[in-house]
């Protein structure tokens, strides 16, 4: 019980320390450039900025999808708030560019040919 609390706390702490996006909030006095740019982009809408919890959620998802835990921290830190939001919406549904394999249409055409000529 105690052990898991210690482990959980140290995990959160390490991600906070290692996450550059969090380090910059040390300068909470000035307004950050990305906030102003986000306001310019979204017009009158208030800039939508991610919470640390969302970054933590994406980090966990990446680990679940097979990424090394240390590497997952660095990956999440290299993303913008908007990109983190996109991943929060679902890693499962996003396009994952991969190599060349046999396409579905090729399979369908093969079935057709088989049906016509070989049955």
């Amino acid at each position: 019980m105690n052990k898991s609390i210690v482990l959980g706390t140290s995990l959160i702490l390490s991600s906070v320390i290692l996450n550059p996006a969090v380090m910059s909030t040390a300068n909470a006095d000035i307004v950050a450039t990305h906030e102003v740019v986000a306001e310019q982009q979204s017009g009158l809408n208030r800039a939508q900025l991610t919470e640390q919890l969302q970054r933590e959620d994406v980090r966990e998802q990446l680990v679940r999808f097979g990424v090394d835990p240390e590497e997952a921290i660095a990956r999440v830190a290299s993303m913008t708030d908007q990109e983190v939001m996109e991943l929060t919406a679902g890693i499962e549904q996003m396009p994952a560019g991969a190599g060349v394999s046999v396409s579905v249409s090729v399979i369908l055409i093969a079935i057709l040919i088989w049906l016509i000529f070989f049955r």
Binding site: D29, V37, P95, A96, G97, G99, S105
Partner: protein, 311 residues
Amino acid sequence: MTARIILILVVLLGLNHLTGCATAPMQYRSLNTAELQAVELVDTPFFPQEAYQCGPAALATVLVTSGVGEATPENLKPQVYLPEREGSLQPELLGAARRADRIPYIIQPQLSALFAEVEAGHPVLVLQNLGIPRWPRWHYAVVIGFDPVREQVILRSGTTKREMMSLRRFEQTWQFGSYWGIVVTEPEAIPVTAEPVRYLAAVSALEQQQRFAAAIRGYEAAQRRWPSEYTPAFGLGNIAYQQGRYADAEMHYYHATELASEEPAVFFNLAWALLRQGKRDEAILSAEMAQMLAPEHSRYGVAVALIENAE
């Protein structure tokens, strides 16, 4: 026999239905290919890729072109490859480019923007869907040229060093990939099709991640390209502030106020840069400006109190 005919009909109908999904108008029909130059960026490196590895390979291709000599698919794989999906996601490619101190920029979803970048010497990393919308087969490739006579697009793709694809077929695969493409340039060479606000957002992402050296190069290049934009000076001021160079920050913020005299954010940050240098009265004046420009805002609206109460 009847069963076989019915089966064939069903399969045919299925094919027809699946390919009939894309109803959006194609751009290539209205593209004046005669006005396009024949171009092929023959010096673009080529990393033949194993199965599922087109993300790291395509990224390495554009990173090396942008001067990141040490980029290879092998050392990018841990940064972008997602084992359980057997591929790479778009945000991770963008993130990995930032980790190499480059400013990735998503181009306009248009063939004209794509070819303008290639003509300017910037290969474009594109997301293609080589399957069909319902059963996608996602693939990353790098567009390196265009042949206007044959109307063919030239790509570094998969294990093919010089893939020629008809413009129509290319656009179809790119359209299925939502016309997503990125250019990765040296920070001094802003993409020719870049729009100021979106490009500055791309630079500010590096600033947010404390990659200050690359962000400074990006903002300085943006100042030269768009001298009337205030955001580059604002960003340079914010970097100087975060590095504790308050006098430099003040100078950049003053420059920004000359370009945008009605932006409360600039006066707000200027107030902090002045305060950090002990110029308390000037700081309060600047805070009053911010407050006057945005009295309802949650931070600017209380700027004077924030500055007065800061130690």
